[in-house]
């Protein structure tokens, strides 16, 4: 039921929402999260963000994350879109949509999906700054903690 996609080009939030909900009368609520590229990091001006991924593994990982959300909540639809390649500030990076009959499931599943996606899908961010330097983004402990609150099975991650 879930629909996961890696996108090289920018996606359109309205189109993704429409694709999930069109002609559906069983859905009562749709939760959504969109992550976007910020124009600064650590106080320095950012000119681009480049997302590298592990192509053969990425869609499998996204599908597994969506399947886990569908196992935990009674979802009527689930959609994950993640961009790869070069993006500029203001661009959307990632979209999570979770539809359910009731709002609580939709919103909880949305939070779960983005938390797991941040810690369990093989993407890596590189920041390009206005001064010409480039840095790979460090993983954040707060992301691990956010993911762990869902009872994440950390044994699966080496």
């Amino acid at each position: 039921m879930a629909d996961v996609r890696i996108a090289a080009a920018a996606f359109d939030v309205g189109s993704e929402f429409a694709a999930l909900t069109q002609s559906r009368t069983d859905i009562g609520g749709v939760g959504c999260f969109v992550g976007t590229v910020r124009g600064a990091a650590g106080g320095r001006a950012l000119v681009a963000l480049t997302l590298e991924h592990y192509p053969e593994m990425t869609e499998r990982a996204l599908a597994a994350i969506a399947a886990e959300a569908e196992r935990r909540w009674d979802l009527l639809g689930c959609r994950l879109v993640h961009r790869v390649g070069r993006m500029v500030p203001g661009d959307p990076i990632v979209l999570v949509l979770a539809a359910s009959a009731h709002r609580q499931s939709a919103l909880e599943a949305t939070a779960f999906l983005i938390d797991w996606l941040k810690t369990r899908a093989p993407f890596w961010k590189k920041e390009s700054f206005a001064d010409g330097t480039e840095t790979w983004v460090d993983a954040r402990e707060s992301d691990d903690e956010a993911a762990a609150q869902w009872g994440a099975d950390q044994a699966a991650i080496c």
């Binding site: 593994m57 499998r60 810690t119 993407f123 890596w124």
Partner: protein, 89 residues
């Protein structure tokens, strides 16, 4: 034990950049049976390799596109990937 099929090794993000290689195919070396064995074997290639894989807290692994801990088996024909902790989303 090698049955002649190679192991495909892939490197991502700063591991790829520091090692100067995105992927390679190797004959599974004698005595290498797990992810940990493979890392120890790769460290012997030189200072850059030793340094990168010494950072065990910041090197993650997948075997056949599944996250894998150090004790996971590596067999001929497998695809093994090394990369930093993920930072997507």
């Amino acid at each position: 034990m090698s049955d002649g099929r190679p192991v495909r090794i892939r490197y991502f993000a700063w591991l790829r950049e520091r090692l100067g290689i995105g992927e390679e195919q190797i004959e599974l070396p004698a005595g290498v049976a797990t992810v940990n064995d493979l890392q120890l074997w790769l460290r012997q290639r030189g200072p850059a390799w030793d340094t990168v894989f010494a950072m065990s807290r910041t090197v993650r692994c997948a075997v056949n596109q599944q996250f894998a801990g150090p004790d996971v088996a590596v067999n001929p024909g497998d695809e093994v990937a090394f990369f930093p902790p993920v930072t997507g989303g």
